[in-house]
């Protein structure tokens, strides 16, 4: 068993198998896991907001889906992975409270998911699986060797996508 590297909120980390990456308690944020199956190099980003171009103070790259995914891919490729082999899985983007919809940050979970998918598409990275939306938090662990993306929630059985 390798080491499990922790990714914080508005953060990203890469790892090489047998190591894994984890992020705890994803709510409306989205966790994007990307790997190169051949080399076992992969990583995880924990993004909070969909679009860096909509925010004035956007220097924090891993905070946004667009810049966060770009940076994650850059680091994975720099570590020796092939860009053309990369595949992705995503989780999170929940709506934790029912009435968030009248907020300026309308359905930010949903928008985070949409923005993540859009960015992956732009980069031609296939999205193999997702566990998104709903109204509960998720802890995720990603193993770049097998591609297993383990999802744990309160009061629910563990899921592997």
């Amino acid at each position: 068993m390798g080491e499990i590297i922790k990714v914080g909120m508005a953060d990203l980390k890469i790892c090489v198998s047998p190591n894994a990456v984890t992020t705890l308690g994803l709510g409306s944020c989205v966790g994007i896991a990307i790997r190169d199956p051949k080399t076992g190099i992969g990583g995880l980003a924990h993004v909070m907001l969909p679009d860096s171009t909509q925010i004035k103070d956007n220097k924090n790259i891993p905070k946004f889906a667009d810049t966060g995914i770009e940076e994650l891919v850059k680091q994975i490729v720099a570590a020796g992975a092939s860009k053309t082999r990369l595949v992705a899985k995503i989780a999170g983007g929940a709506q934790m409270f029912a009435f968030q919809s009248n907020n300026a940050l309308v359905r930010v979970g949903e928008r985070n998911v949409a923005a993540s998918k859009k960015k992956l598409q732009e980069l031609h990275i296939p999205l193999l699986a997702e566990d998104t939306g709903e109204n509960y938090g998720r802890t995720v662990v990603f193993y770049p060797e097998s591609g297993d993306f383990i999802i744990r929630s309160v009061g629910k059985p563990e899921k592997v996508i």
């Binding site: 909120m9 308690g25 709510g27 409306s28 409270f97 802890t139």
Partner: protein, 204 residues
Amino acid sequence: MAELHLEEMSSQYFDVLKEIGNIGAGNATTALSQLLNEKVDMKVPQVKVLDFDEVGASIGGEELVMAGIYLMVEGDITGSIMFLCEERAAHSLVARLMGMEDDGSGQFDEIQLSALKEIGNIITGAYLNALSMLTNMKIYPSVPDVSIDMAGAILSVPAIEFGAVGDKILLIQTQFSDDVAIDGYFILVPDLESHDKIMRSLGM
């Protein structure tokens, strides 16, 4: 100053928020005591400005199951307020409010969730009253909503609101105690214009 960031917040303004936190938590303690018809003590609140990745650890871990009660705020200032406490403490509060035995575990049923919302309503209302009185501004909270989930997931909601304007989150920690100690956390997220209004109303 429309370009306020928590990082650059003046120590004077920080003191004001701290003082509002003190008074608000004091009000909340009185309200809680009246609600439960019991004596409730309070420790001096701590006001912290934290990085996103420090928040989880500072309240006991991202995966700690907590109850979060969240309200939108409208009126002269707009934003949101959240009250958070551990699931265990929430069970204890609800049981005492309803005059029932605290089974201390399991799921909250509809009535218990409703009671929990009311507790959150009263506690955050007391806090907002302090802010309203100090600033002489009208503040109207929405109906509350509640989530029982991992701390990280609940906190992602105010964190994202803070995240739209900066990279820090303002957390007010209050410890209530009677039979058991209850760590409660307030998170107030005024939008940028509201920060400005709060300061102006205080002549800063």
